[in-house]
Structure formats: C-alpha cells, structure tokens
Amino acid sequence: MADGSYEETELRLGLPGGLDKIVGANSYAGKRGFEETVDLKLNFAAKEENINDSVKPPAKAQVVGWPPVRSFRKNIMTVKKSGDLEDNEKGSGGGAFVKVSMDGAPYLRKVDLKMYKTYKELSDALGKMFSSFTMGKCDTQGMMDFMNESKLMDLLNSSEYVPTYEDKDGDWMLVGDVPWQMFVESCKRLRIMKGTEAKGLAPRAMEKCKSRS
C-alpha cells in the first residue's frame, strides 16, 4: 500500500472530512470558526498532521463512534456465513473487537480490528490511543522481520513498547508475525508491553513463523 493512502485513514479527534467539501459550496464561516477555536494542543507522539491540511477526506471508518452504530451491528455485510462463531466478544453480529491494554496505562481500550487493513493503520490508531507508545521498527508491509534476529533483539532490548497479542491457541505472540488477515482472525486480545518484557516471546514467535514459511 502506498504511503499516501495512510493519510486518508488516519485517526483523528477532530472533524473528519476536508474543508474542500464545503469550500466548493457556500464556504461556511461557522465551520471554519470551529476549527480555529478548537486548538487542542494534543500531545500525541505522531502528531505531524493538523486539522487543516487534509487533501482527501479520510475514510468514514476512522472517526471513533461515528456513525453511531453499535458494535454488534457493524460489519453486517462482511459477516461470514460459515456458522463458525468463535470469539464471544465479537458477539453474534460482526466486527472484531479486542481489548487492548498497555502496561502502565490507566485504561483498557477496545479496537475493532476490522476497521484497519494493515499493521501500520493499527499502529497509528494505537499510537493515538496510548500516546507514549510507538510500534517500533516495522517494514513497509508492517510485518516484523523475524528472520533477522539481531534486528528483533535490538527492539526487544530497548525500552520501547512492543505490541503483543493472544492468539486463538492462548499463546502470546509478538504482533506482526503473520499476514494481516490471519492476525485479525486469530487475535483475541492485545497487550502493549515494554520490549524487554516481550523478550520471552520472541523465540516462540520465530518458530511459529519459521514453521509457516
């Protein structure tokens, strides 16, 4: 996926949609007024964007809680008909909500994995939720290079946070070791922990990865 498309789908607290929707029509003073007054000075790690510079409107999926559809009503169209109802947390509707915890953070969050298409999107979203968190070194595909042991060891020795997840088998794995779609289907829970704590996971993750390739 080209880098440019990430901007479309970035998560924001502010208004979705660009000004260009209204600019073409009667440019509405009121709307601009809002954007000037809302100067949240948010202290997010990945805060390059500001509200005024979007070129294309971001995909609708990225505004939290909008449209106001309850989680069990989402993804009705993409619901599988295999009758395979695994994870209860997904309810009997659709969506892939998993709990996300970060060591040291006061709140659990929930994310709907089906809202994202790549690891980078998920990483950006998590980054905004937990502002001191960074995903670390991922290649453009978002898949961590598990074959490169030294790269991995660097990350795990740092005090940076790494995301881990509990898969269907109940094993804790480092996020990024399998293709995205496979990850969405097997991830039951996310936990963001310090690299040094995640060390114990690496060997298993690498083995699973090796056995799959």
Binding site: I22, K60, R70, P106, Y107
Partner: protein
Amino acid sequence: MAYSFPEEVLEHVFSFLSSDRDRNAVSLVCKSWYEIERWCRRRIFIGNCYAVSPDIVIRRFPEVRALEMKGKPHFADFNLVPEGWGGYVHPWIRAMSAAYPLLEEIKLKRMVVTDESLELIARSFKNFKVLVLSSCEGFTTDGLASIAANCRNLRELDLRESEVEDLSGHWLSHFPDNCTSLVSLNMSCLGSEVSFSALERLVARCPNLRTLRLNRAVPLEKLPNLLHRAPQLVELGTGAYSAEIRSDIFSNLTEAFSVCKQLKGLSGFWDAIPAFLPAMYSVCSGITSLNLSYATIQSPDLVKLVSQCRNLQRLWVLDYIEDTGLEALAASCKDLQELRVFPSDPFGAEPNVALTEQGLVSVSEGCPKLQSVLYFCRQMSNAALVTIARNRPEMIRFRLCIIEPQAPDYLTLEPLDTGFGAIVENCKELRRLSMSGLLTDKVFEYIGNHAKKLEMLSIAFAGDSDLGLHHVLSGCESLRKLEIRDCPFGDKALLANAAKLETMRSLWMSSCSVSFGACKLLGQKMPRLNVEVIDERGPPDSRPESCPVEKLYVYRTVAGRRADMPGFVWKMDGDKALSADGSGNKPREVVERLGSSYAINFCTWLSYSLQSVPNTDARIITCMGQRNLFC
C-alpha cells in the same frame, strides 16, 4: 385528615399508584404519608446509578421488590466511554442481598455485572423472578449457570445486547428439571451453541413461555421442534435463518409457524435467505413487531414479507429496504408507529443502496400513527424534513443520522437548520431528538424556543459557538439528558447555565472546547453535581487551565463523589486548590483569574468564599470542589 384512615387503608390506596411521579408526589403531602408510602414502595427506578447510593435507597425504601437501574452514559454504546469507567452493580447487589431478601426483579442497562454478582443474586434472593441485562458486560456464561441452577421461580432471563464472555453453551443445561416457570428467555446475544435437547426439554416444560429469543447457533431446521413445543409463543427470535434448501425443511417450518397462532413479534433472522421467508407468511397478519435488522435480504423479498404484515406497529430493518420498500411499507402498514432503518454498510464511502430521504418522507405521508423514528441515510434536505414535520406533528422520538458528518442540504447546500427547526416547531410532543448534518447555532435557537417537551437531545459535529449550547440549556424546560460530541461549545454557556444542570440527569460533552479551568469552577460552585473529567492524556493539571478537556460528564447526585473512579496517578495537596502550575495558589486567586474572562453572570460567584479543595484520593480524576456530603 390523615388520621381518619388507618394506615392499611392508605397503603391499599397507594398500591394502585404505579408511576414514580405519583408516588413521589404522595410522599410530599405530609410526614405520615411519606412514612406510609416509603414502606410500601416496591419498585425503584434509578436512571443513573451514581445519583444515589445503595444505603440511601435502602434506608428510605425498606421493602423493595424490583430494581431498575442504568449505569454508563449512552455514548458508551459507541465506544466513547473508556473501559473501566464504572457502572459496577456489585455494591448494589451486596447491599441488597442483606436488605432485600424478598427481591424479585433486577433490570440493568449499561452496567458492569460480574459472575460474582450473578452468583450473589442466585444465592441471596429466594423468590427471584426477573433478570434483564440490557447492554451490560463483565460476566460469563458461568454466571448464567448460577442463575439457571438456583433461581427456582425464574420467570425472565433476558440478556438483550449484552456482551457476555461465552465460555460454553452448557449454562442452559443448569436449569433443573423441575423449573417450569419461565415466561421469557432471551439469549440472542450469545455465540455458543447450547445443548439443543436441553433447550427443547426446557421449552416443553414451561407452559407459560411467551418470549423465546434464540441465538444464531440454533439451526433453522431444528426450529420446528421448538415451535411445536411452544405454540403459545407471543414473541419469537429465530436463530440463523438459513439452511440447505430442501422441501422437507421448508414444509416443516411452514407447518410449525402455522401452529403458532399467538405470535406477535419476530426477530433474529441472521443470515436469512429469501427461500425460507414464505414459511412465515401464515403468521404475518398477526405480527405487530418485526426486527429484520440482521437480515441481509434485498428489497423485493423484504417488501413481499413486510407487505403481508398489515398490522405492523414496529419495524426494524436494514437499508436494503430502500426507498421503494418504504413506499410499499407506507402503503400496507397503516398502523406503523415505530420505524428504525439501520445502515448495512456504515463505513463505505459510497452509498450501496437506493435509500434516501424520500423513503422516510413516504412513510411519514402514509403512516398516520408514526411517532418514533431512527433513520440512517446519506442525504437529507430541509424540504424533506419540513414535509415530515408537517405530516407527523405527533412525533415523539426523531433520530436522524446522516452518515457523513456536517453534510448540508444536498439540494441547496445550506445547513439543515430550517428542517430540524420545523421538526421541533411542529412536533410539540417531541421527547427525544438526535440530529446530524450541517447545523449552525440557528437550529439551537429553534430548539430552545420550541422544544419544550424535549427530554433527551443528542448533538454531533454541530453549531458555531457557545450560543448554541446556551439556547438549549436556557430554553429546553424538560431537558433531562444532553449528550454532545465534537461541537465548538465551551465554557461560557456551560457556566452561565450551571444551575440548569441540577435539573437534569446528566450532561455529556466530548471533543468540545470546555476548559479544565471551567470544569474546576463548575465543580466548585455546584456541590450537588459530580463534574467528572475523562482525559486519557494524563492529569489535567499537567496542561494549561485553558486547555480543553477530552470528555466531560456532569450529573446530579445526592451520593457525593463516587469511590470507584479509575484514575491517573496525580498529586494533590489537601489544603490548596488544584492549580495548573502546581504552585498552590490560594483558591480565591485562581477563581479571580478565571472569573474575569467570563460573562457578567458569574460575578456573583466571585464573592463566594471558596473552600479549599479536599484531599482527594490520588487515583481520582474528578474535578475539584466535589465534597462528600455524607462523610
């Protein structure tokens, strides 16, 4: 005069009063009526679990048999309230297990219920009859097993839309063989398969079963088994509504439906395929409530089905019904009172169905009893809204969601102020309104002027300035719940109308422009409100006082500050006001600095002597000034 009737007579008279309002009025007449009434009040409704404490309730009403309670703010349904916010029911269950051994009913909405709570319920209340958990979470199927196993007289077990950790379907088998009392069972939110034979036997031995809502895992070809054993059913929720297309399955299903002469409500229909819809035709003429909101069937089949339901009063459906389907609905279902149209593809960039404002206009024209609407669509016009308003002046609930935030009138590109203005002006009985689309302060002026019976208002991405919020707070006399997200509303209107907040149940504001300083001020001056700031960026005092808070939840309470708030680690000294620079400015200085920037209305506050902020628990994130009234 009170002495001319013995207490028993008064009690008997009071027993005919079911509405809380009437009972509250009665208890204000005189002391003896207060006493008599409080001893015979059996049903309690608590709209906000933090507005009052278990002890206060128990002290006043010692003989309660039924409790209904709500926890989280409504926007929790859309993931705007972080996990761990609160709404725990356990303290209530614990207190009631000692105080109300005869408790029969518990109905909860948006609360956190644990297996421990369920087990305590199962153990403590020998005559327990009704458990309704609506949009609750925190429990597993193990907790359900306790209820099933121990509540001998259980009549209702309704888990509507709760998030249950589904460990297995085995819980259902815990209903003992001698349990024959079930009247209503709603397990539609569960994922796991239950033992079908256990379900069959349970249904067969409960002759009073009226409502049965199955979960998706119950296969269609087995549905006839259940229907034959419960032909008296009034409300049925099917499981998955698809199976191999075989004539025997079809004919069994048709025959089974034809036996259920009392059916009035249908729901379920996951994975519905059109081939099996005609099996239900025999019951359609009696159906008054139809929930097809999980059925991805397309318009022609939908229309065929819905047109048969001539007595339909309530329809929930996906937007596959399209404008043409709604036109047909308007032509066939003249008794329709409530319509909800949900989006099949809410996040798609382009419309995937031909559903526009026209569908809603048709229904408003054709259905004279229409009073309750929830409608998701992608375009709207002022003209359409004006038409709808004029067609249906008796509208009570109107919730419109135009999927694109701030979408203008698609014909004129103007804001939708006029349209919504017409709604509030014509629909004088309107109690609930949710708005969307491009809206300026003007619409709020209309609302403040006209919406005198409005009780609940939901606003998103609307308005230009504080004036908008001021119109609402100063004009809407009946307002109880106000929820706002992503609007440019700030401190002025909020502080100018602080007293109004005590007349309401709650106010929610997220992603608006209310500053931390204003929150503190509000909290300090309104001791009977809990002013809670939710901010995941860290302690509010690590940012300037003028910095807007992420989320604000304000509610009236007689219980003081709640003890179960999740928190940040935040340092607070006991004898000085929380100040942004941590310098421990004297409270008066802080307020005077803030006060000068506010409208003249607040000048009176400057003369109040401020108390220093109490020493709060480091984990608390509520705004300062909330003193515990019951220490």
